[in-house]
Amino acid sequence: MEFVSPEGLRLDGRRPMEMRQIRAEIGVVAKADGSASFEMGNTKVIAAVYGPREVPNRSQQISDQALVRCEYSMANFSTGDRMRKPKGDRRSMEISLVIRQTMEACILTHLMPRSQIDIFVQVLQADGGTRSACINAATLALADAGIPMCDLITSCSAGYLNSTPLLDLNYVEDSAGGPDVTVGILSKSDKVTLLQMDSKLPMDIFENVMQLAIEGCKAVANYIREILLENTKQLEYRRGT
């Protein structure tokens, strides 16, 4: 099947180096300490952060840092066919672990000992790149909750089909069987915290694809910074300063 037409257009009309349209909103869940919704094309996720709060199980609390927990779940209607088991299955547990470890890299946990920070991510519509959208939404939600972080983590995926590196794969391109590289970086310090790849790829092409994904992450980081700035201006305005 042809994923990149001879004119250089993908199945949804994008160019190979073009990301899908991103849209983010802060403060969507009133009851949460911090929350955000993030859309990358047709993939829509909501992240909510509760914390720092007391650890319910005293034996699990850590005396010198905060405990970070994450749960990823997909709505029954988020994929094409209705899902029977939206959480607790292997894929969801793996993604929960990945998101938790990625976010732990940037949260300054030593500032909040003996407490717990819960990050919950709910996927409402899945069209490829859910992992990346969840990490981006979690970053925004943590910022909304005022949890101290050393940097913003953003994530994007890239692949290689029909001998062309493609940025931000959607579901059809992802399930084509080609390689799928997901990268998460700390935007200011340019360090990689998440790197996952499946399928086979020669080393030199891998470097190109990874570089492309990093460019995508930087674009998302710029957008996230704009959103946060706009949100702060709104808060200032409402406070009347």
Binding site: V29, A30, K31, N42, I46, A75, F77, R82, F120
Partner: protein
């Protein structure tokens, strides 16, 4: 902080927020004496309600309903099933209500909300017993194939009156539902018809020629009220529900017939007059909700 005198009116001596946390009942009673609530609503008024249809593009029918901050997302997915022998010309509806951990600080991954299965059952009962959906419309080939409609409702923000918002979202999703055009292919399997005609495959006439909507009669709407001493508060927030623990939920249909009445215990024992007042408040609310729903439907049709 002032000293806690026996009959002390401490409100003058500490901040409002602290008083609200420490003495929630007295905080509310001070407001109820003036017939108003902390968010400046009169006792009988519900919060601002909005309904948006078609919130989930991948589902056959979907809606998002917001009552104040309480947000519900409902989506319907249709699957083909074989109907059981005793109702061979009827389809079926399965209703499920989920409270994911994002919605509220009291829901944690290992400890699901106690209220979720309760609301799920209430919703199931209300929708099926109201007779809103004619199950015969969900039949495809009598005895062989029928639609199973899976309705999933996700609470995205839990701020009181969960049942009302969930019912509104469910009803709106059914109003938005479009049954796809299908045909039975050679193997006897039901396939969804795509736009182009494929030669040789359509041996029988299509079972539905085009997308169609369900005809809904007797649409149920509800209102939850909280009873406290002799006050009746309509559409409580989560804080009000936790402080004053006697909810009464009344479900009426569009012709103001009583579909269901639910008063699960609580410290206040109500006289019939209180229940009738709740029903009267619900009747007013039904008119508001009908208007909101029909506006949302006509907005969709204009697009």
């Amino acid at each position: 902080m002032g000293s806690s005198g026996a009959s002390g009116d401490l409100s003058g001596e500490m901040e409002v927020d602290a008083f609200r946390r420490l003495f929630p009942l007295r905080f509310y009673e001070r407001h109820l004496l003036e017939s108003v609530r902390p968010d400046a609503r009169p006792l009988g008024r519900a919060r601002d309600t909005t309904v948006a249809l078609g919130a989930v593009a991948t589902a056959d029918g979907s809606a998002m309903a917001k009552i104040g901050c309480t947000t519900m997302l409902a989506a319907i997915k249709l699957e083909v099933m074989t109907p059981p022998l005793d109702s061979s010309d009827e389809g079926s509806v399965a209703i499920d209500f989920h409270m994911p951990p994002i919605c509220s600080p009291i829901v944690r991954p290992g400890r699901p909300a106690e209220v979720a299965p309760v609301v799920s059952k209430q919703l199931s009962d209300a929708i099926i017993s109201s007779g809103m959906i004619n199950l015969k419309e969900l039949s495809l080939v009598s005895g062989k194939a029928a639609w199973m409609a899976y309705l999933d409702i996700y609470c995205l923000d839990a701020d009181g009156a969960l049942f009302d918002a969930a019912l509104l979202a469910a009803v709106a999703a059914f109003s938005h539902l479009q049954i796809p055009a299908v045909t039975v292919n050679d193997d006897g399997r039901v396939v969804i018809m795509s736009g182009e005609n494929e030669e040789g495959k359509l041996l029988k006439d299509p079972v539905n020629k085009e997308k169609r909507k369900l005809t809904l009669t007797c649409i149920p709407f509800s209102l939850t009220c909280i009873l406290h001493k002799n006050y009746i508060l309509a559409d409580p927030t989560a804080e009000e529900e936790s402080v004053m623990e006697t909810p009464v939920t009344v479900v009426l249909d569009s012709s103001s017939r009583l579909v269901s009445l639910y008063k699960p215990g609580g410290p206040v024992l109500a006289y019939m007059s209180a229940v009738q007042d709740c029903v009267a408040l619900t009747r007013q609310r039904v008119k508001e909700l009908q208007k909101i729903l029909s506006d949302a439907i006509s907005d969709m049709e204009v697009d």
